[in-house]
Structure formats: structure tokens, C-alpha cells
Symmetry: C2
Subunit: 186 residues, 2 copies
């Protein structure tokens, strides 16, 4: 009755379950038993295939950030990231920032992955302006995106959490354009 033995499928099921739970609850409040139960496998397999909970978390972040960044050219990144943050029913497990935001996870390689993610976002955003403090301006825009995600999901702050995506995107892009505009008119 049970599905045939398939290591790759089991590993994928564990990764999917971990992605969902880390995004919803953060690292600390997600247990390896929860992940294994959601994946429908024995929790010992988690350690066979990923080695440790830390490694699994790092793998989740790496996988998500790769998926998000691989098809977002710089000029569309702000829009893409913002829109995904603003989806009506935000699927928390789909956005790597959610797992990061819910996990104050200092040690282990997760810290490196987390920073790298921020670096990639910011580098892409910085290319949108030619100001000499482009990096700082990009960081501020990134900070805004992150903050909006926090208020919408962690805080559930109204009216922002329930606001229309287009309205929010319009306000943000309008204000952010002050930071990202080119210093000399084209």
C-alpha cells in the first residue's frame, strides 16, 4: 500500500516539509519530528539525508534563494520580490525571507546563506541607480521590502496586511524612486 522506496522522493518530501514549517514557525519552533511527520517519513531519515537540522535549514535557504533569484533580472527584481511579498494569500513557504525572518539563527552556515541572500538582492537593486551611495540606497529599499514582509506576516499589522497589492506597490515604488532615480536626467 505504501509508495515504493525512493530515496530522492523521500529527500524531496523532507525538504518541502522543512521549507513550509521553517517559513511558518521559524527554526527554533520547528522540530525534526514535525518535519518528518509532515513529510510522512521516519525522522531518522532526516539525519541520514541531511546530516543535521542546521544543514537542512541551510539547504532550504539555499534552494529558495536560488529559485527566487535565477529568473529575476535586476530591473525586475524590486517588482518581483515586492509582488511576491504582497500576494493576497501569502504562501509563506515560498519566500525565503520568511524563513529567515522567523529564525534568529546566528551560528552555522545559515548565517552565511542569509547574508549572501541579502547581498544578492542589494547588488541587483544597487544597479538601478548611479548615485555614489548606491549600495546604501539599495540597502534601504531592501530594508523596506523586508519590513513590509515582517509587518504583514509576523505582526499581521492592519491595514497593511490586508491592503491591495497594487496600492501598496504604487506607494512603495513612488517613494523608492526618490532613492533609486538616476542623478542626471536621461
Amino acid at each position: 500500500m505504501s509508495r515504493p522506496r525512493d530515496a530522492a522522493a523521500t529527500k524531496a518530501a523532507l525538504l518541502d516539509a522543512a521549507t513550509k514549517l521553517f517559513g511558518e514557525r521559524g527554526f527554533d519552533r520547528t522540530t525534526v519530528r514535525d518535519i518528518a511527520n509532515l513529510a510522512g517519513v521516519n525522522q531518522a531519515l532526516l539525519f541520514r539525508y541531511f546530516g543535521s537540522k542546521d544543514t537542512l535549514f541551510a539547504t532550504v535557504l539555499a534552494t529558495q534563494s536560488r529559485e527566487l533569484l535565477e529568473d529575476s533580472p535586476a530591473e525586475h527584481l524590486l517588482r518581483n520580490v515586492l509582488l511576491r511579498m504582497l500576494e493576497e494569500k501569502p504562501r509563506r513557504e515560498d519566500h525565503p525571507l520568511y524563513a529567515v525572518l522567523r529564525s534568529s539563527h546566528h551560528d552555522s552556515s545559515a548565517e552565511l546563506v542569509r547574508r549572501q541572500l541579502g547581498e544578492e538582492y542589494a547588488r541587483a537593486l544597487a544597479s538601478l541607480t548611479d548615485s555614489d551611495d548606491a549600495q546604501l540606497r539599495a540597502d534601504l529599499v531592501l530594508a523596506w521590502i523586508v519590513g513590509i514582509g515582517v509587518l504583514r506576516t509576523v505582526f499581521g499589522k492592519q491595514p497593511l496586511a490586508g491592503a491591495d497589492s497594487a496600492d501598496v506597490a504604487a506607494l512603495v515604488t513612488k517613494a523608492a524612486s526618490v532613492l533609486l532615480e538616476h542623478t542626471e536626467a536621461g
Copy 2:
């Protein structure tokens, strides 16, 4: 040799220690034994004076948010909050948002305190504009402040984390003024 018995002082020492550790590590990664050790008292006293770790956390948040808001009139709130976020050596324990950001703490009364804190910030910010979507605009400004705090402390994102306070404040207030300006010129 030990200080005289003083329940009020003991309680205050526990609250101070909890404020510091919750702000640095978040709720989950702070243990009651850590708090008691830092306060220099037996950990059983934490439960005598605060009942539970949850209650202590809620008390920390309530105390901090009261202190922050009580002497910040609306027109100075953005500046005050932003400047405190941008202090050179950010004393994480001093800003209630740090404890909140590091604690994905869903249940218990902490959720209520967290929302109330957001409500107070946003209400004050909303009074700065007369636009009909003032609340939404205020939420976006609040989101920005939160996001800057996250990038500076949780991520440690450079160059934002090491940027000059005045530079950051100038950029943010300039861009935020687009959102908070009055709809008809004075």
C-alpha cells in the same frame, strides 16, 4: 556580604536581565536560567515574581513600549524612533522592537502587546498626513523602520549597518516625506 533582601530590587534585576537577553537573543533562545544567572538570583524567584517566562516577556515588552512612547509627541516619533534605531553602537536591549523582531512568539499575551505597540506607532505616524489612506502610508513608514532595524541587527547588512546615522536619516525622511506630505500645499 550579600546585599540585603529586597524583593523590589530582585524583581527589577530580573526584568533588566530579561530585557537585555530577550533583545539580544529573542524569546526562544533565552532560558530562564540565563536570565536568573545574569540577574544574580535563583531562577525559582523568576517564577515567584513573574509567574512564567511568557508573563515576563510580556512585561518586558509592555515596560519598554511605555517608556519609548511616553515622551515622544507624534511629530517627533519618526525621528526619535529612527534615531534610536540608528545609534552607532545600537543597544539592542533598549529598543522594544529588537525583542519583538527576535521573537516569533505567536501565542500568549505577547502577541497582543506586539500588536498594540504597532498600533501606537502607526497611529502617531498617521497623524502626520491628511491623505485618506493615511493609515496605510503610516504602516509603510513603520515597515521601513522595522526593516532597517532588521537589516542592521539581525542581518548585520553592510553598508547599512555601518552607515552614518545622519545620512540614513536624511535618505529615509526624504523618501518618506513623499508618503507623509499633506495633500494640499500649506
